[in-house]
């Protein structure tokens, strides 16, 4: 059903990743090949330890792997650092942050790929981008506060703004909804929808299945392998999803949305 | 009949002999050491372990070197003690080694912490400290009495006379020379109340570090520059780079090259408060007379 009129945004080919050392080695990714098309939101789901974060990190070039990852037709390793950084933005899970930095400065760090030197003052374009990013996550009022003064959910929104400020074509997000309460999760959904409409590609690892079902496409993983990749609206995707969670969830339509309910 | 007379003479002589010796064996020697601890000996100690160089030297000055069976690693005078087994240092003695030597007296300085440990092991420990000239005399007399040396006062008097003669050997023009003695590059100086300071006083020279600053004060080097000593005395290990210290080039002693650098073996004599104080005084006197003219020698 996916029509290819140009090279895919991201292409993973026969990815194999082994983690751990000595006797504790595990095969985190087992021969994974995937294609991600431009202008779509794909969510990656699966049980714990399925390799979702590992896959995302490989796509971002953060983990050594066997096999290849291609970004817009070119091998990821061949991209110069800054060009790649402008094309691909990353938001990780449970990553450190400095309590002392001002929110404004944190988000401005997202403009690093666009800045030619580290000591130059930010350009107007940079300031505009930072403001836009902060406003889209409803964090603009806190721009003068320091990161340490915010709560978990507020901090997450700031880090998201940082990832948005890069204004990259592709956004990779690992558990972006951590600490966000339902209204802000809804805000996030709206934001992603807007980004996709602008032609951006979003790939997110989510463990909130109901939220993941709002995506265009879904990649379902289990034990290092891709079990299914398909549209979220298709029934076959729902059945595959239920199967990978041992039939302990049920995917249903409710008030125009798809939800995944735990079977009690 | 004759046999009876012989037996009687023999027994009488025996009793006389016993009577002669028994007061010595029956009489106990009690010593109160510098910590106020009282130690009693049945007879004069014959096997001595010394853990302080000045006490080692005191024992030998009293001509009782032969009683030493073990010393600490810093005792190096007289030469014969270097052949004795070493039992660690004053502050970190090897208790096993000491016990293995079966001493009947262990001489230590008052700062040794092992005293109680050694005492619980049944050893006789006498703690003595020599910080001043008066101490040296007192310790010498005490050890002399303990070891039953015939006339320890005589030994002391000859040492004291040696110091006086060193002082008298100096020409009157040298009296009042202003001296700075540095013991350590802290800089730590030897004040008037220190042992070295007392020797300097007896030689008739003036110490730039007066009594109220204590025995070994850590000085601001600026003080030395202001005091402008005529002569500087320093051990070789501390002497390196002294003349290049900021501001020191204007000190009279540095300008006139009146600096006595004592090599390590001489340093030991000067620094140890013990029976070699006459020798120490002589070394210092030599240093002073060598620099009496501005000939600028670096060695005493």
């Amino acid at each position: 059903m996916t029509t290819l009129n140009h090279t895919p945004a991201l292409l993973a080919h026969k990815l194999n990743v082994t983690l751990g050392q000595g006797t504790e080695k595990i095969l985190a990714l087992d021969d994974v090949s995937l294609m991600f098309v431009d202008g779509r939101w794909t969510s990656i789901v699966g049980p714990n330890g399925a390799g979702k974060s590992t896959l995302l990190k490989c796509l971002a070039g953060l983990l050594p792997h066997q096999g290849s990852v291609q970004l817009s037709g070119r091998d990821l390793m061949d991209w110069p650092n800054r060009s790649r950084a402008r094309k691909l933005s990353w938001l990780g899970q449970n990553e450190p942050s400095s309590d002392d930095l001002r929110i404004w400065d944190v988000v401005m760090l997202g403009r690093l790929p666009h800045q030619s030197s580290w000591i130059a003052a930010p350009s107007d374009a940079d300031s505009v981008a930072v403001e836009r990013a902060l406003r889209s996550t409803h964090a603009w009022e806190w721009r003068e506060r320091s990161l340490g003064q915010l709560s978990g959910g507020e901090r997450q929104r700031v880090l998201l703004a940082r990832a948005l400020a890069v204004e990259a074509d592709i956004l990779l997000m690992d558990e972006p909804l951590a600490n966000l309460d339902p209204p802000h999760q809804a805000d996030w959904l709206a934001l992603i929808g807007e980004l996709v409409r602008q032609g951006k590609t979003v790939i997110s690892v989510l463990h909130e299945i109901s939220m993941a079902l709002h995506a265009d496409e879904m990649v379902i993983m289990s034990q290092g392998r891709v079990v299914h990749q398909g549209l979220c609206t298709e029934a076959v995707t729902h059945r595959s999803l239920e199967a990978v969670f041992d039939q302990r969830i049920a995917v249903r339509a409710f008030e125009g949305q798809l939800v995944a309910l735990p079977k009690i | 009949m004759r046999i009876l007379i012989y037996v009687w003479s023999f027994l009488r002589n025996g009793f006389l002999l016993a009577a002669f010796f028994s007061p010595v064996c029956a009489q106990n020697i009690t010593v109160v050491d510098d910590r106020g601890v009282s130690v009693t000996f049945e007879h004069a100690p014959k096997r001595i372990v010394s853990l302080l160089p000045s006490l080692t030297e005191t024992v030998c000055a009293l001509d009782q070197c032969h009683r030493l069976v073990g010393v600490d690693r810093y005792s190096d005078f007289p030469k014969m003690v270097q052949r004795l087994p070493q039992v660690g240092g004053g502050l970190d003695p090897s208790v096993e080694a000491i016990v293995a030597l079966r001493p009947d007296l262990v001489l230590i300085g008052t700062s040794t912490r092992a005293a109680d440990h050694l005492r619980t092991l049944g050893l006789n420990v006498v703690a003595l400290d020599t910080k001043t000239h008066v101490d040296v005399e007192r310790v010498m007399i005490k050890i002399g009495q303990l070891l039953e040396v015939p006339d320890p006062h005589k030994v002391w008097r000859s040492i004291d006379a040696g110091v006086s003669s060193a002082a008298q050997s100096l020409p009157p023009s040298l009296r009042g020379t202003r001296v700075y003695y540095e013991v350590d590059p802290g800089p730590y100086a030897a004040g008037e109340t220190s042992f070295i300071g007392e020797t300097l006083t007896r030689l008739g020279v003036k110490n730039i570090v007066s009594a109220e600053l204590g025995a070994f004060p850590k000085l601001n080097p600026e003080f030395v520059v202001r005091a402008n000593p005529d002569l500087i005395m320093v051990g070789q290990r501390s002497a390196v780079g002294m003349t290049q210290r900021p501001g020191w080039s204007r000190i009279s002693a540095v300008r006139n090259k009146k600096i006595c650098v004592f090599p390590a073996d001489q340093s030991n004599v000067l620094v140890r408060p013990g029976p070699r104080m006459a020798e120490a005084a002589q070394i210092m006197a030599n240093c002073l007379s060598t620099h009496s003219s501005t000939t600028g020698l670096l060695k005493p």
């Binding site: 990190k57 971002a60 070039g61 953060l62 650092n81 800054r82 790649r84 950084a85 402008r86 691909l88 990353w90 990780g92 990553e95 450190p96 942050s97 400095s98 002392d100 930095l101 001002r102 400065d105 760090l109 997202g110 690093l112 790929p113 580290w118 000591i119 003068e144 320091s146 880090l159 | 350590d184 590059p185 802290g186 730590y188 600053l213 204590g214 004060p217 850590k218 000085l219 601001n220 080097p221 600026e222 003080f223 520059v225 202001r226 290990r237 501390s238 002497a239 390196v240 780079g241 290049q244 210290r245 900021p246 501001g247 204007r250 650098v261 090599p263 390590a264 073996d265 670096l298 060695k299």
Partner: protein
């Protein structure tokens, strides 16, 4: 708003530094004295005035400048360490880099000065053959600084190797303490084999600003300027690293080379300070915390301000060291512990009180 408070704090620290510097020129072996009169009016005897001027120029000025510069280097190193290792407890001491630097100095002295202790050659009387740790010879100071630099790098790398990266706070601190203790013991071992050097280094190891002359002071100021420039250029990288290695990489930052560069700057600052003034604790730890408790800002600003604060702190400690019991001196390390440690205690107390209040 924050930019303004940063500038204000910087100005306040600079003004305080100058005030203390004037005080530093006035405090000597006679305690506090009025030095202005020596410049304004000729004294009773010309000799008296000229001695006073020489003392100020030859002794107090280089010592005051040197104490400030050493503190500035240590403050910078502390802020850099805390940013690099993402840990507010990091400082040149806890990472073992200071111990590595002192080991470098000890080895250099033993090699340069000749181990008369080991060889037992008592006839080597001439003191010109050995090298003093307080020497004011330019080449000697450069040599000792270079050795300290290498020692500091070695120590930081050992720490990173043991802790396998900066991820785990506990492991990092533990590694740093281990490396620090082991290298410190190695230093003592080296010195035991060379009793001549041992004696000279006793007071040096405890931290000493006593014999800092023009050579040492100028060397430290030059290195400080270089480190400041490096920090200004690399500050943004440190900010990026504060978001984690993954994010920093995806932002296009060359993480490994930049981290190496920062480690080199850390080692240079630590090594230079230790080679001139020995091991002075608390400055590297307290100065960044002092700045952070007053303002929140970027890494660049933080490091530069912490540097200024460190200079102020050590300058104050040095003045107290020579002024409190003049003409005797207290070891400056004791005073930095009192000032810096006391301030940290107060910070902790104030911090917990505030937290209790908001509950």
């Amino acid at each position: 708003m924050t930019v303004r408070s940063t500038v204000l704090l910087a100005l306040a620290v600079i003004v305080a530094t100058f005030a203390l510097a004037v005080l530093g020129l006035s405090v000597g072996s006679t305690g506090l004295e009025n030095v202005v009169k020596y410049w304004l009016s000729p004294a009773t005897s010309i000799d008296h005035a000229s001695m006073a001027r020489e003392i100020i120029w030859e002794i107090r000025l280089p010592r005051t400048l040197g104490a400030w510069a050493a503190g500035a280097l240590l403050g910078l190193a502390g802020a850099l360490a805390q940013g690099l290792f993402r840990n507010p407890l990091a400082d040149p001491f806890l990472l073992g880099s200071a111990s590595g630097a002192s080991l470098g100095v000890a080895i250099a002295l033993v090699v340069l000065g000749g181990g008369t202790g080991l060889l037992g050659n008592a006839s080597m009387i001439s003191s010109e053959l050995s090298v003093s740790v307080f020497s004011s010879n330019v080449w000697v100071r450069l040599g000792l600084t270079g050795a300290a630099f290498i020692g500091a790098i070695l120590a930081v790398f050992l720490t990173l190797l043991l802790s396998r990266g900066v991820g785990h706070t506990l492991r990092l601190l533990l590694s740093g303490v281990i490396v620090g203790v082991v290298l410190g013991a190695a230093t003592h071992l080296v010195l035991l084999f060379s009793p001549d050097v041992l004696q000279a280094m006793q007071s040096f190891i405890l931290g000493s600003t006593v014999f800092v002359g023009w050579t040492s002071a100028i060397l430290m100021v030059v290195v400080w300027c270089f480190c400041c420039v490096a920090v200004w250029l690399l500050g943004r990288v440190l900010d990026g690293l504060s978001l984690g290695d993954a994010t920093a990489f995806t932002l296009g930052l060359p993480v490994a080379p930049m981290r190496l560069a920062l480690v080199l700057v850390l080692a240079l600052a630590t090594g230079t300070a230790v080679a001139q003034t020995g091991l002075i604790a608390f400055v590297g730890l307290a100065a960044p915390h002092l700045v952070r408790s007053l303002i929140k800002t970027t890494s660049t600003n933080l490091m530069l301000l912490a540097s200024l604060a460190g200079g102020l702190l050590l300058l104050a400690a040095d003045i107290l060291a020579r002024g409190l019991i003049a003409p005797q001196e207290l070891p400056v390390g004791v005073l930095t512990a009192v000032l810096g440690g006391g301030y940290l205690l107060w910070l902790m107390h104030a911090g917990s009180a505030r937290r209790v209040g908001t509950l």
